[in-house]
Protein backbone atom coordinates (compact mmCIF):
# COMPACT_ATOMS: atom_id res chain seq x y z
CA UNK A 1 0.00 0.00 0.00
CA UNK A 2 1.35 3.43 -0.94
CA UNK A 3 1.13 6.47 1.34
CA UNK A 4 -1.64 7.91 -0.88
CA UNK A 5 -3.64 4.67 -0.64
CA UNK A 6 -3.34 4.68 3.14
CA UNK A 7 -4.32 8.36 3.45
CA UNK A 8 -7.33 7.91 1.13
CA UNK A 9 -8.44 4.75 2.94
CA UNK A 10 -8.19 6.39 6.38
CA UNK A 11 -10.01 9.57 5.32
CA UNK A 12 -12.90 7.90 3.47
CA UNK A 13 -13.16 5.26 6.20
CA UNK A 14 -13.67 7.99 8.80
CA UNK A 15 -16.28 9.79 6.66
CA UNK A 16 -18.12 6.47 6.07
CA UNK A 17 -18.11 5.90 9.83
CA UNK A 18 -19.69 9.29 10.53
CA UNK A 19 -22.42 8.56 7.93
CA UNK A 20 -22.96 5.17 9.56
CA UNK A 21 -23.30 6.50 13.11
CA UNK A 22 -25.39 9.48 12.05
CA UNK A 23 -27.87 7.75 9.72
CA UNK A 24 -27.80 4.06 10.72
CA UNK A 25 -26.38 2.74 7.46
CA UNK A 26 -23.43 0.34 7.38
CA UNK A 27 -21.09 2.63 5.50
CA UNK A 28 -20.70 0.22 2.59
CA UNK A 29 -22.17 2.83 0.27
CA UNK A 30 -18.87 4.70 0.65
CA UNK A 31 -16.58 1.75 1.47
CA UNK A 32 -17.22 -0.21 -1.75
CA UNK A 33 -16.37 2.62 -4.20
CA UNK A 34 -13.37 3.54 -2.01
CA UNK A 35 -12.00 -0.01 -2.12
CA UNK A 36 -12.58 -0.19 -5.88
CA UNK A 37 -10.68 3.11 -6.24
CA UNK A 38 -7.86 1.57 -4.19
CA UNK A 39 -7.58 -1.22 -6.76
CA UNK A 40 -9.73 -4.07 -5.42
CA UNK A 41 -12.07 -6.00 -7.73
CA UNK A 42 -15.84 -5.55 -7.36
CA UNK A 43 -16.39 -8.82 -5.46
CA UNK A 44 -13.31 -8.32 -3.25
CA UNK A 45 -14.46 -4.76 -2.50
CA UNK A 46 -17.96 -5.93 -1.52
CA UNK A 47 -16.55 -8.71 0.69
CA UNK A 48 -13.92 -6.48 2.32
CA UNK A 49 -16.48 -3.69 2.85
CA UNK A 50 -18.69 -6.11 4.80
CA UNK A 51 -15.81 -6.91 7.15
CA UNK A 52 -15.21 -3.17 7.69
CA UNK A 53 -18.95 -2.69 8.38
CA UNK A 54 -18.88 -5.15 11.32
CA UNK A 55 -16.72 -3.07 13.75
CA UNK A 56 -18.29 0.18 12.46
CA UNK A 57 -21.85 -0.98 13.16
CA UNK A 58 -20.76 -2.56 16.45
CA UNK A 59 -19.35 0.78 17.68
CA UNK A 60 -22.62 2.48 16.71
CA UNK A 61 -24.70 -0.23 18.40
CA UNK A 62 -22.66 0.10 21.61
CA UNK A 63 -23.25 3.86 21.79
CA UNK A 64 -26.90 3.68 20.73
CA UNK A 65 -27.63 1.05 23.41
CA UNK A 66 -26.35 3.50 26.02
CA UNK A 67 -28.43 6.32 24.50
CA UNK A 68 -31.47 3.98 24.72
CA UNK A 69 -32.29 4.08 20.99
CA UNK A 70 -31.71 0.43 20.03
CA UNK A 71 -34.77 -1.86 19.84
CA UNK A 72 -33.20 -5.29 20.06
CA UNK A 73 -36.01 -7.63 18.93
CA UNK A 74 -36.89 -5.68 15.75
CA UNK A 75 -33.15 -5.51 14.94
CA UNK A 76 -32.86 -9.30 15.22
CA UNK A 77 -35.97 -9.90 13.06
CA UNK A 78 -34.73 -7.43 10.40
CA UNK A 79 -31.21 -8.88 10.38
CA UNK A 80 -32.28 -12.50 10.03
CA UNK A 81 -34.97 -11.69 7.42
CA UNK A 82 -32.48 -9.75 5.33
CA UNK A 83 -30.18 -12.78 5.15
CA UNK A 84 -33.10 -14.61 3.49
CA UNK A 85 -33.61 -11.55 1.25
CA UNK A 86 -30.02 -11.80 0.05
CA UNK A 87 -30.71 -15.34 -1.16
CA UNK A 88 -33.75 -14.15 -3.13
CA UNK A 89 -31.82 -11.14 -4.44
CA UNK A 90 -29.06 -13.28 -5.90
CA UNK A 91 -31.67 -15.30 -7.83
CA UNK A 92 -33.36 -12.17 -9.22
CA UNK A 93 -30.04 -10.48 -10.02
CA UNK A 94 -29.11 -13.31 -12.34
CA UNK A 95 -32.41 -13.07 -14.26
CA UNK A 96 -32.83 -9.27 -14.72
CA UNK A 97 -30.37 -6.82 -16.35
CA UNK A 98 -28.54 -4.66 -13.81
CA UNK A 99 -29.32 -1.28 -15.42
CA UNK A 100 -33.08 -2.01 -15.19
CA UNK A 101 -32.73 -2.76 -11.48
CA UNK A 102 -30.66 0.37 -10.86
CA UNK A 103 -33.22 2.61 -12.61
CA UNK A 104 -36.07 0.98 -10.73
CA UNK A 105 -34.48 1.34 -7.30
CA UNK A 106 -33.20 4.82 -8.14
CA UNK A 107 -36.76 6.02 -8.80
CA UNK A 108 -38.09 4.25 -5.67
CA UNK A 109 -35.40 5.93 -3.55
CA UNK A 110 -36.27 9.38 -4.84
CA UNK A 111 -39.95 8.74 -4.03
CA UNK A 112 -39.11 7.55 -0.51
CA UNK A 113 -36.82 10.58 -0.04
CA UNK A 114 -39.71 12.89 -1.01
CA UNK A 115 -41.98 11.08 1.47
CA UNK A 116 -39.38 11.49 4.24
CA UNK A 117 -38.91 15.17 3.41
CA UNK A 118 -42.66 15.70 3.59
CA UNK A 119 -42.78 13.96 6.97
CA UNK A 120 -39.88 16.01 8.33
CA UNK A 121 -41.51 19.33 7.38
CA UNK A 122 -44.84 18.22 8.85
CA UNK A 123 -43.14 17.25 12.15
CA UNK A 124 -41.26 20.52 12.26
CA UNK A 125 -44.49 22.46 11.74
CA UNK A 126 -46.23 20.50 14.49
CA UNK A 127 -43.29 21.05 16.84
CA UNK A 128 -43.31 24.83 16.33
CA UNK A 129 -47.11 24.90 16.84
CA UNK A 130 -46.89 23.21 20.24
CA UNK A 131 -44.23 25.61 21.50
Amino acid sequence: MSATTIALGLALGAVGGVLSGMFGVGGGILFVPTLVALGLGQVEAAATSLLAVVPTATAGIWRQTRYGNLRVKPALVLGVASIAGVEAGVTIATSLPEHVLRRLFGVVMLLVAAQLGHRAFRERARYSETR
Partner: protein, 120 residues
Amino acid sequence: MLSSQPVRLVGIGLLAGLLSALLGVGGGIAIVPLLILLCAFEPREAAATSLGAVAITALAGVALYAVHGDVRVGYAALIGLPAVGGALAGTALQQRVSGAALTLGFAGLLTGVGIWMLAG
Protein backbone atom coordinates in the same frame (compact mmCIF):
# COMPACT_ATOMS: atom_id res chain seq x y z
CA MET B 1 -52.11 -9.14 8.24
CA LEU B 2 -49.97 -6.27 6.95
CA SER B 3 -50.95 -4.26 9.99
CA SER B 4 -48.95 -6.59 12.22
CA GLN B 5 -45.57 -5.14 13.21
CA PRO B 6 -43.58 -8.44 13.05
CA VAL B 7 -44.88 -9.09 9.52
CA ARG B 8 -43.83 -5.61 8.43
CA LEU B 9 -40.39 -6.10 10.01
CA VAL B 10 -39.88 -9.39 8.14
CA GLY B 11 -40.97 -7.68 4.90
CA ILE B 12 -38.57 -4.77 5.43
CA GLY B 13 -35.74 -7.18 6.26
CA LEU B 14 -36.37 -9.22 3.10
CA LEU B 15 -36.41 -6.06 0.99
CA ALA B 16 -33.20 -4.81 2.61
CA GLY B 17 -31.43 -8.10 1.89
CA LEU B 18 -32.75 -8.06 -1.68
CA LEU B 19 -31.44 -4.53 -2.20
CA SER B 20 -28.00 -5.30 -0.82
CA ALA B 21 -27.69 -8.42 -2.98
CA LEU B 22 -28.90 -6.65 -6.15
CA LEU B 23 -27.07 -3.36 -5.85
CA GLY B 24 -24.24 -3.87 -3.41
CA VAL B 25 -25.45 -1.15 -1.05
CA GLY B 26 -26.12 -2.12 2.53
CA GLY B 27 -29.61 -2.79 3.83
CA GLY B 28 -29.57 0.25 6.11
CA ILE B 29 -30.54 2.59 3.30
CA ALA B 30 -33.86 0.66 3.00
CA ILE B 31 -34.36 -0.20 6.67
CA VAL B 32 -34.18 3.32 8.15
CA PRO B 33 -36.85 5.05 5.98
CA LEU B 34 -39.20 2.04 6.09
CA LEU B 35 -39.00 1.82 9.90
CA ILE B 36 -39.90 5.52 10.07
CA LEU B 37 -42.67 5.43 7.45
CA LEU B 38 -44.23 1.99 8.07
CA CYS B 39 -43.46 1.10 11.70
CA ALA B 40 -43.70 4.52 13.38
CA PHE B 41 -40.12 4.40 14.72
CA GLU B 42 -38.56 7.65 15.89
CA PRO B 43 -35.68 8.61 13.54
CA ARG B 44 -33.00 7.90 16.16
CA GLU B 45 -34.54 4.51 17.03
CA ALA B 46 -34.74 3.65 13.33
CA ALA B 47 -31.04 4.44 12.80
CA ALA B 48 -29.93 2.53 15.91
CA THR B 49 -32.09 -0.52 15.15
CA SER B 50 -30.91 -0.52 11.53
CA LEU B 51 -27.30 -0.75 12.73
CA GLY B 52 -28.20 -3.85 14.75
CA ALA B 53 -29.70 -5.49 11.66
CA VAL B 54 -26.82 -4.42 9.41
CA ALA B 55 -24.26 -5.96 11.80
CA ILE B 56 -26.03 -9.34 11.59
CA THR B 57 -26.28 -9.24 7.78
CA ALA B 58 -22.65 -8.11 7.37
CA LEU B 59 -21.41 -10.91 9.67
CA ALA B 60 -23.30 -13.50 7.62
CA GLY B 61 -21.98 -11.99 4.38
CA VAL B 62 -18.37 -11.95 5.61
CA ALA B 63 -18.61 -15.61 6.62
CA LEU B 64 -19.85 -16.53 3.11
CA TYR B 65 -17.25 -14.45 1.24
CA ALA B 66 -14.42 -15.60 3.54
CA VAL B 67 -15.03 -19.19 2.40
CA HIS B 68 -14.30 -18.04 -1.18
CA GLY B 69 -11.22 -16.08 -0.05
CA ASP B 70 -12.48 -12.68 -1.23
CA VAL B 71 -12.00 -10.78 2.06
CA ARG B 72 -8.86 -8.60 2.22
CA VAL B 73 -8.28 -8.14 5.96
CA GLY B 74 -5.60 -5.42 5.66
CA TYR B 75 -7.84 -3.21 3.54
CA ALA B 76 -10.80 -3.87 5.86
CA ALA B 77 -8.70 -2.66 8.80
CA LEU B 78 -7.48 0.40 6.87
CA ILE B 79 -11.08 1.51 6.33
CA GLY B 80 -12.82 -0.09 9.31
CA LEU B 81 -10.61 1.30 12.09
CA PRO B 82 -11.05 5.01 11.21
CA ALA B 83 -14.72 4.19 10.55
CA VAL B 84 -15.11 3.06 14.19
CA GLY B 85 -13.91 6.51 15.28
CA GLY B 86 -16.27 8.08 12.74
CA ALA B 87 -19.21 6.01 13.99
CA LEU B 88 -18.59 7.12 17.59
CA ALA B 89 -18.53 10.76 16.44
CA GLY B 90 -21.59 10.24 14.21
CA THR B 91 -23.74 8.70 16.95
CA ALA B 92 -22.71 11.46 19.40
CA LEU B 93 -23.56 14.09 16.79
CA GLN B 94 -26.91 12.39 16.11
CA GLN B 95 -28.06 12.93 19.71
CA ARG B 96 -27.72 16.71 19.24
CA VAL B 97 -29.98 17.13 16.22
CA SER B 98 -33.79 17.04 16.17
CA GLY B 99 -35.69 14.05 14.77
CA ALA B 100 -37.06 16.19 11.94
CA ALA B 101 -33.56 17.37 10.99
CA LEU B 102 -32.31 13.79 11.04
CA THR B 103 -35.19 12.66 8.80
CA LEU B 104 -34.43 15.51 6.43
CA GLY B 105 -30.71 14.61 6.40
CA PHE B 106 -31.58 11.02 5.57
CA ALA B 107 -33.88 12.19 2.76
CA GLY B 108 -30.87 14.09 1.39
CA LEU B 109 -28.66 10.99 1.59
CA LEU B 110 -31.34 8.91 -0.14
CA THR B 111 -31.73 11.53 -2.89
CA GLY B 112 -27.98 11.43 -3.51
CA VAL B 113 -27.94 7.64 -3.76
CA GLY B 114 -31.07 7.65 -5.97
CA ILE B 115 -29.50 10.09 -8.43
CA TRP B 116 -26.24 8.10 -8.39
CA MET B 117 -28.21 4.96 -9.31
CA LEU B 118 -30.10 6.65 -12.13
CA ALA B 119 -26.86 8.14 -13.48
CA GLY B 120 -24.75 4.98 -13.14
